[in-house]
């Protein structure tokens, strides 16, 4: 949990929660989240891609402008500018590409060891909340480090659970534990 009672966008997992909400608003059915940590190149990269309705080419250059929002659909607002600012504060970069009818992809690169890089935070909790709150959406979360990969895929979990609801608290707690254990295993290798 970030800071005082988990408030403000103090960690990267909360940015992911926020971005995923944009994907859902855009009508995505598949949301792919990729986290790549490379200590050698000093990179901490977050990518999120969806198959939602996409952003029109004339709107795209303005989505990272905090004073711009599409209001009616609430597709953008403060979320992207905050992420851009956080990434650039570490000497990193922010990129967004999109095609109408195909989907949107966002990539934020942070310098891994930079003092201003927000901590990752409770990523297992975020993934499980997204999965539980939107069981009809396929979330694919991959965490990659120099020692290996871990992928959590809603489709695989659904198959393993064989019809049990993903939005049940007991199921969600088990899944959270599973993600945590796998990410910790990646880090301790």
């Amino acid at each position: 949990m970030a800071g005082k009672s988990g408030k403000s966008m103090k960690d990267i997992s909360l940015h992911i929660l926020d971005l995923a909400q944009n994907c859902l608003t855009a009508g995505a059915t598949i949301v792919t989240i990729l986290l790549e940590e490379c200590l050698q190149d000093n990179i901490f990269q977050v990518s999120i891609a969806d198959n939602g309705k996409g952003i029109a080419a004339d709107v795209l250059p303005r989505v990272a402008d905090p004073y711009f929002t599409t209001r009616k659909t609430r597709k953008v607002g403060m979320g992207l500018p905050l992420l851009k600012q956080n990434a650039e504060a570490t000497g990193g970069t922010f990129q967004i590409s999109s095609e109408v009818g195909v989907g949107t992809r966002i990539c934020a690169v942070f310098q891994h060891n930079h003092f201003d890089r927000p901590p990752l935070g409770d990523i297992a909790g975020v993934v499980v909340l997204l999965v539980g709150a939107n069981p009809e959406i396929r979330f694919v979360y991959t965490h990659r480090t120099q020692t290996g990969n871990y992928t959590f895929d809603t489709a695989e979990v659904q198959e393993a659970l064989d019809g049990l609801p993903l939005n049940d608290y007991n199921v969600m707690q088990l899944l959270k534990g599973m993600i945590k254990a796998n990410i910790n295993a990646l880090k301790s290798q």
Partner: protein, 130 residues
């Protein structure tokens, strides 16, 4: 709580989970169940909506309330985040603002369990079309 690390572990626990879930769920149709929707846009998240959603999930389960907890986008009440919308079957949706864990506890105990209205309701002046 049992710890698992793989999908194979998850499969092994399936029967156990199934009996737990069947005990609780009295109704199959989502319309027949209480819905708790936490607003999860930038404004909500920055105000602590994740913590509130986790609290709701945990406490509703602990107290044996059969409800679906989900997330919504920005409802336009950014000033009052975190906001929680509660739909009790047969009633108009009610949106609570400035929800912290104390308020969330009141929502469960007073509104969801007993139907008592509380302070902190945001007047809603729209009708959902879908």
């Amino acid at each position: 709580m049992t710890k698992i690390t793989s999908l194979a572990d998850l499969k092994k626990l399936k029967a156990d989970l199934k009996s737990k879930i069947e005990l609780r769920e009295k109704s199959d149709s989502p319309e027949g169940r209480i819905q708790v929707k936490v607003a999860m846009a930038t404004c909500g998240i920055a105000a602590g909506a994740k913590v509130i959603m986790e609290y709701m999930l945990e406490e509703l389960d602990k107290r044996g309330v059969d409800a679906i907890v989900s997330q919504t986008g920005c409802l336009g009440y950014c000033f009052a985040e975190p906001t929680v919308e509660v739909v009790i079957p047969g009633n108009e949706p009610v949106v609570f603002g400035y929800v912290d864990s104390k308020k969330a506890n009141e929502i469960i105990e007073k509104y969801i369990k007993n139907g008592e209205l509380l302070d902190g309701i945001i007047p809603v002046n729209y009708q959902k079309i879908d």
